[in-house]
């Protein structure tokens, strides 16, 4: 019974360790912005912690550069289970504008198992809150793959059935 209680408490208290893997600071600043009065993520029990040992969530901003890869792996290992990894910003989602640079490994998911993706450059604080709320099950996902097709005989587009994950 107590075990269930402890599990239930998990989404109500997400302690966040914020990681920059080579980002430009834009996302980092918006992540901090989410904690400030107008957005106040602490409403959802979210707070920033200083040691990965205390963290439940790893927020990854930025494209993963070669130099941070070992540190990032160690960091992931230092977070106790259960843990979430959220990639914030286009860079962390898919490498962003840097995806093919020589020193970039790619998005966060090339190194870590990422649970949630929040694209944007940088994502608005609301977008980050939306992603977090989605992780908490408060809101629905709003994106899906789009497949449009013009047909030679029928110029109006019809959506192709979307691929199911």
């Amino acid at each position: 019974m107590f075990k269930e209680l402890c599990q239930k408490a998990f989404p109500k208290s997400l302690w966040v360790y914020h990681t920059n893997t080579g980002a430009c600071n834009g996302c980092d600043i918006e992540v901090i912005d989410v904690l400030t009065p107008y957005y106040d993520a602490e409403r959802f029990g979210i707070k920033l912690v200083g040691s990965p040992r205390h963290a439940d969530v790893l927020l990854v901003c930025g494209p993963v550069t070669r130099q941070v890869v070992p540190a990032l792996k160690r960091l992931y290992d230092a977070v106790p289970d259960p843990k979430l990894v959220i990639a914030i910003g286009s860079c962390a989602v898919g490498g962003g504008i840097w995806f093919d640079s020589y020193n970039i490994v790619g998005g966060a998911d090339t190194i870590l198992p990422v649970d949630y993706y929040i694209p944007g450059c940088p994502p608005r604080p609301e977008a980050i809150l939306h992603g977090v709320a989605m992780a908490l099950g408060l809101v629905e996902k709003q994106v899906e793959p789009v497949h449009l097709k013009q047909l030679p005989d029928r110029p109006e587009s019809i959506p192709v059935e979307s691929e199911t994950p």
């Binding site: 914020h18 990681t19 920059n20 893997t21 080579g22 980002a23 430009c24 600071n25 834009g26 996302c27 980092d28 600043i29 918006e30 901090i32 912005d33 400030t36 009065p37 107008y38 920033l48 912690v49 200083g50 040691s51 990965p52 930025g62 494209p63 550069t65 070669r66 130099q67 941070v68 890869v69 540190a71 960091l75 962003g96 504008i97 840097w98 093919d100 640079s101 020589y102 020193n103 970039i104 490994v105 450059c121 940088p122 608005r124």
Partner: protein
């Protein structure tokens, strides 16, 4: 003496060692000297003429001329011009005399040039690798034209980086790469005895993303402003603005005055954003979260305002070569004024509260002392320099955009400590509000984008500096074919400021280290945009304070 006079004086002094000099615009002096005379010329400029070293750059011109082009950039602040000293070295013998022994500020950039294009600075006091990652191959120089931009060498396990050992009796406290108050990865090895810092060592370049390579190999002139903007997420506009100005200078494009005013307004808005942000972070660093919350609450309407003007809260995407993409619509003027008035009122209250707050003063006053002479020799920039009594401000010294038509005050304090740097930023914010008000009032009507009919010719060069919230941002563009620059060199202010950190940390309490580092408002992503990490050598490079300072500076009181 003016740029022309200086050029002549150099020519006279060094005779045929000076191959040529030109002054395309009164604020730009290009010198070409032989490779054996680079050190005396640099010494003459730095020591005799009082010029400030900015950065150097290496360009692979083997395709065009069979040589590497090394360029040292200096600024003559009193006479308001920039100097580029070109030197060519043979491709068979990629070596150049190091100027670091005479110009300490050149330390990092010379090593960076070695890492990136493989031109070795001979006689460099600390010839270790600077930028590339630990497992990057030693003989692969990313900025050479024949190296593909997307080359990804295999990873190497177990590369043991070479690090500076702590002094006897001290232990190492690693600050970073992941440290809560460093928003970005950077690795300071702080040597402590008890709580006192007795030395420091820095390994950075975790955020090196290879911007310059992308700019020179994949992107076109008008794609680069967007990537330049993403050099730094806080002061991105500064970079795109500086880049565009450099290209405009190189191509001789006249930017419409309205676009200049818009750039000015955005730069100043960005400065306010950045300084409020910094104040909040500084408060957070010393555990004063209320400061963080309240300053960021003040800042938020400004972010909304920027979103309204530019379509995004940050990385506005406004700049293109030749002007700006979006106009500031007259109906927003009043909103801007309103937001500024609100910020000014609250900022003034904050300003009044700080001197009475003894606990806050206790943390800021007398900590993180950076003496004026160190700041000068290591080329500090921006509020860091101005907090140490160096009156340099690009907006006044080398006016750009619309600043020559606006009233700008240099905010200089000579306290040299964290408090001085704080006060500089507080003052500048107030000043920025005044500048924006004035700019809004004076803003002329007209187009916002220059008409560009011809392609940009290859082989032209342009220098441009912009005063970022953290100091002087410097861009140099050498135009090329295929609608992209042949070389685009960026210097961010933190690049210079960061070299000042280890000497400043010494003697402070460990508890003050975060706020000391924070007081520079370091932006590692700016600094590390183009440094590359050498993956194959199996070695990490670090620099000690002595190495950085070339052994000629010690704290007086020890």
């Amino acid at each position: 003496m003016s740029a022309q006079q200086l050029g002549e004086s150099v020519k006279q002094r060094f005779g045929d060692k000076v191959i040529s000099f030109s002054v395309p615009q009164p604020d730009q002096l290009y010198l070409t000297v032989t490779s054996d005379s680079i050190v005396p010329v640099a010494e003459y400029l730095y020591k005799d003429q009082g010029c400030r070293f900015i950065i150097n750059s290496g360009t692979d011109r083997r395709q065009q001329r069979g040589k590497f082009l090394i360029t040292h950039f200096f600024a003559q602040d009193k006479e308001k011009f920039y100097i580029a000293v070109h030197t060519e070295v043979d491709e068979d013998e990629p070596q150049i005399d190091s100027i670091t022994p005479s110009v300490p500020a050149a330390n990092w950039s010379e090593r960076e040039t070695r890492d990136m294009v493989g031109v070795v600075p001979t006689g460099h006091p600390d010839p270790r690798r600077l930028v590339l990652s630990d497992d990057w191959p030693e003989d692969l120089f990313p900025l050479r034209w024949d190296v593909e931009h997307g080359v990804k060498p295999p990873s190497v396990e177990g590369v043991a980086p070479e690090r500076l050992a702590p002094p006897e009796g001290a232990s190492v406290v690693p600050i970073g790469p992941y440290f809560p108050v460093l928003e970005e990865p950077a690795y300071f090895r702080v040597f402590v005895e008890g709580e006192e810092v007795v030395g420091a060592d820095y390994r950075g370049f975790y955020s090196h993303r290879g911007v310059e390579k992308l700019g020179c190999s994949v992107l076109t002139y008008n794609q680069i402003p967007f990537i330049a903007e993403r050099i730094c997420g806080i002061c991105g506009f500064v970079h795109s603005c500086s880049y565009c100005q450099a290209v405009e200078r190189a191509a001789g494009i006249e930017v419409p005055p309205r676009a200049e005013y818009i750039r000015t307004i955005m730069l100043e808005l960005e400065r306010i954003e950045s300084h409020t942000l910094w104040l909040g972070i500084a408060g957070h660093i010393i555990g004063f979260d209320t400061v963080l919350m309240q300053t960021w609450r003040m800042r938020e309407p400004l972010m909304w305002l920027c979103e309204r003007i530019s379509g995004n809260r940050k990385t506005y995407g406004m700049n293109l070569v030749g002007g700006v993409r979006r106009d500031i619509k007259p109906e927003i003027y009043d909103d801007i004024r309103q937001v500024l008035t609100d910020i000014e009122r609250e900022w003034q209250e904050l300003y009044d509260a700080i001197p009475g707050d003894s606990t806050l003063m206790a943390r800021l006053q007398g900590t993180g002392i950076l003496p004026t002479e160190v700041a000068r020799s290591l080329g500090a920039a921006g509020p860091t320099a101005r907090g140490s009594g160096l009156a340099i401000d690009v907006r006044v010294d080398h006016p750009f955009a619309a600043y020559d038509r606006l009233e700008v005050t240099k905010c200089v304090y000579d306290g040299c400590d964290n408090l001085a740097r704080t006060l500089v930023r507080l003052d500048e914010t107030v000043d920025s509000i005044k500048i924006i008000r004035q700019a809004l009032q004076d803003m002329p009507e007209g187009p916002i984008m220059a008409e560009i009919d011809e392609e940009i010719p290859a082989g032209c060069e342009g220098m441009s500096a912009v005063e970022a919230p953290r100091g002087e941002v410097f861009h140099w563009v050498l135009t090329g074919t295929e609608n992209r620059p042949e070389r685009w060199r960026v210097r961010a202010p933190t690049y210079a400021n960061l070299q000042n950190v280890p000497p400043m940390l010494e003697g402070n309490a460990l508890a003050d280290v975060p706020i000391c580092i924070g007081s520079y408002d370091p932006c590692f992503s700016c600094t590390e945009r183009m440094e590359i990490v050498d993956v194959n050598s199996g070695q990490v490079r670090v620099y000690s304070q002595e190495e950085i300072l070339n052994g000629d500076y010690r704290r007086q009181d020890d």
